[in-house]
């Protein structure tokens, strides 16, 4: 082989502000083959890709978008750490990516980069849009003024990429600036002005489509209406429109489980394949429709430029809670399911706001709690009419939703003022011009989200499902009530002293253990405990009739039911959520914290509810 293969690959860092077209250029240069990971210690995404540049192997590092090289937080230090060679080998050269239409602003960042003395070139993106807006930049004059190579490209159409590749392959031959830009911000601005003076003959005019669209989309009334409509669509996507696909998957998983039992028999192998492995795979795959749909819309609206507008519209409300506008979509999606909701926090720029959003997302009442609420409310809350079509059962359900949401807002406020008090980072958000995102990039982003979920969270979910199967199956016993003899059953018995103050017996304990797989599992587990085949009417009757053999009193008293409902409002009974938190925060620290604080809240709320309900019961 040639020397080119044996020599260490060239390392190039792509640097630029958000919305500069940096990621589009990265994808165009690497052909979408990026390795995605996390920088150690922070929740910032790390993307590297390999490519050939003029016969030379090169590693491209897509550095996090930034407006400045002066870090204000650990997350912003990532760029500096990469440049200093603290994360892998330091880049041999830097490629500063700038939107040709806002070159003025980008020169301020370029000036900081040039002061580092590393070979640097400037790539102007979206030169087609610049022309359309009546702007003109003389690339040769810009090169002369800056003293470094400059190229213009249209990243997603591949315009100018061949010339750029030829340049990027040989950074050792790049010209260096004649003089280093000044250090102070004021003088830097003067430097930028003189560069612009010599190279820009016409500034880009207003972007007409953006002017017109914003007049509607950010209008005091129409803007709020559009925002509400888009949010309803988001909610419907995860709550309703993903349902058919999820039901097909459920049916497919059920069919596969039956097939496994038929082939492997009803013994241990068949049980493991059907209830352990296939059910575990199903528990992972069932999330794909929600994640795919949510991210399809999210990346589309992000690429178009609407997500920044949505955040602008709702920022005032979220700002009060110490969060920012983009947290809204994540929290809203969490009403359907915290898994896609937590993944949606990736679009939140401030890492602190993102972490707080992740930590409170499980408090939004997700759809997996509905079967639990339906069972308990259906069995124990009388269907009394209250007002018009509104019945007592509906009111209780509504109250459960409200309590969860209020708790999320309160906890967010507490975290923001306490544990996660921010380093008072200033809030700023660019409102980029509306653009049509390239379809290939959009598809790659959606696929990337699905793949990341499967690889990082999916493996944990599958493993936990198998472990729970073992707990519920061994030691093996036959006949109804066998589950009581299982490890989970014994765990339920062992937990009884802890559960008694909440009014729970061991059967609810087993259900709580099983509900770690997914909250609705408590329903099917109770069905197994009571050995009923129908999870609807039969189970409702069974729990209603169940009597404690020692005291002779019903197990599910109104106080116990209220207590159990309170428990489910708060408890993070969901390993999928924990797995996704682990993936998104890059450590077990935050999922452990969330599990602990939510369990604490659940226990406290449950205890108080039980005591109050008992007191009320004896008072009546």
């Amino acid at each position: 082989m040639t020397d080119a293969v044996l020599a260490p690959p060239l390392r190039l860092g792509l640097l630029g502000s958000p919305n500069s077209g940096k990621t589009t250029l990265f994808n165009a240069l690497t052909g979408l083959r990026a390795r995605v990971g996390n920088y150690p210690g922070v929740t910032v995404e790390r993307r590297e890709g390999e490519t050939w540049l003029d016969g030379r192997r090169a590693a491209l590092i897509d550095l996090p978008g930034t407006y400045s090289l002066t870090p204000l937080s650990p997350d912003e230090e990532v760029v500096g750490r990469v440049l200093r060679g603290e994360v892998g080998r330091a880049p041999d050269a830097l490629v500063v990516v700038a939107d040709a239409c806002s070159l003025d602003r980008s020169l301020l960042l370029l000036a900081q980069v040039l002061r580092r003395g590393v070979p640097t070139c400037l790539v102007l993106t979206m030169i087609d849009e610049l022309g359309a807006r009546g702007g003109r930049v003389d690339v040769e004059r810009l090169e002369r003024a800056l003293g470094i190579p400059v190229r213009g490209v249209v990243g997603h159409r591949g315009v100018g990429l061949r010339e750029l590749r030829a340049l990027l392959g040989h950074p050792e031959s790049w010209s260096r600036p004649h003089l280093v830009p000044p250090a102070s911000a004021r003088e830097r601005a003067g430097w930028a002005a003189s560069i612009l003076e010599s190279a820009v003959s016409a500034r880009a005019g207003a972007h007409r489509p953006t002017e017109l669209l914003d007049r509607v989309l950010l209008h005091p009334l129409a803007g709020l209406a559009v925002f509400a409509l888009v949010m309803v669509i988001f909610f419907q996507l995860v709550f309703a429109w993903a349902q058919p696909a999820m039901e097909w998957i459920d049916a497919g998983v059920g069919g596969a489980a039956r097939l496994a039992r038929r082939t492997l028999g009803t013994g241990l192998a068949g049980d493991f394949a059907a209830d352990g492995l296939i059910a575990g795979v199903g528990a992972v795959v069932v999330f794909l429709p929600q994640i795919g749909l949510l991210f399809g819309l999210l990346h589309l609206l992000e690429g178009v430029g609407y997500m920044a507008r949505a955040a602008f519209v709702i920022d005032r409300v979220m700002g009060r809670l110490g969060l920012e506008g983009r947290s809204f979509v994540a929290l809203l999606s969490s009403y359907a399911c915290a898994v896609p909701g937590i993944m949606a926090t990736r679009t939140i720029a401030s890492p602190r706001s993102r972490l707080v959003t992740i930590l409170v997302a499980p408090l939004m009442t997700c759809s997996a709690r509905l079967p639990v609420y339906t069972l308990l409310i259906g069995a124990f809350v009388p269907a009394l009419p209250v007002w018009g079509p509104l019945g007592l059962q509906g009111l209780v359900l509504l109250a459960l939703y409200l309590v969860g949401s209020l708790a999320a807002l309160l906890v967010a406020g507490v975290l923001r003022r306490g544990v996660l008090r921010s380093e008072s980072l200033p809030f700023y958000m660019e409102l980029p011009p509306y653009r049509v995102p390239p379809a290939r990039l959009w598809l790659a982003q959606v696929w990337g989200s699905l793949w990341a979920f499967l690889r990082r969270a999916g493996t944990i979910i599958l493993a936990t499902a198998v472990v729970l199967w073992v707990l519920l199956t061994f030691p093996r016993a036959e006949g109804p009530g066998a589950i009581g003899q299982s490890l989970a059953g014994r765990l339920g018995h062992a937990m009884e002293p802890l559960l008694a103050p909440l009014g729970f017996d061991w059967k609810i304990g087993v259900g709580l253990v099983a509900s770690l797989a997914a909250r609705e599992m408590i329903v099917s587990t109770l069905a197994q405990v009571y050995a009923v085949s129908d999870e609807g009417t039969d189970l409702r009757e069974a729990v209603r009739r169940d009597v404690d053999p020692r005291s002779g009193r019903p197990v599910f008293t109104p106080a116990t039911v209220a207590s159990l409902l309170a428990f489910f409002v708060f408890a993070l009974q969901c390993m999928s959520t924990l797995a996704v938190m682990r993936r998104e925060t890059n450590s077990w620290r935050w999922p452990a914290f969330a599990f602990a604080y939510l369990l604490g809240l659940a226990y406290g709320a449950s205890f108080v509810t039980y005591r109050v309900a008992l007191a009320l019961g004896s008072a009546v």
Partner: protein
């Protein structure tokens, strides 16, 4: 200059003609030039890096439907700041 976040000035604060105003006080459509940035050095540094450098022309584009934040245009791009950040930026009306 005080280091803590600045309280918003009372409505009746008299403003001498030509004296620096707060960027957050300008109505939508107004044009001004940045005069100076007040407060915490780190925050000032970031606002400077965003292009809010003294002498830079800035235009107030619009307020968000709920009244905050506000969209500004400067240096060929558009960025929004909350009232608390906008209040740190002193401007002179053009």
């Amino acid at each position: 200059m005080p280091a803590e976040p600045l309280p918003l000035p009372p409505e009746e604060t008299p403003v001498a003609p030509g004296a620096p105003l707060r960027l957050s006080e300008l109505p939508p459509g107004a044009r001004a030039r940045i005069a100076e940035i007040e407060g915490d050095a780190c925050l000032a540094e970031r606002l400077l890096d965003l292009g809010f450098v003294p002498g830079t022309p800035v235009r107030v584009v619009r307020r968000a439907p709920l009244g905050d934040p506000t969209e500004y245009e400067l240096r060929g791009y558009r960025v929004c700041l909350r009232r608390s950040e906008g209040a740190r930026i002193r401007v002179r009306r053009a």
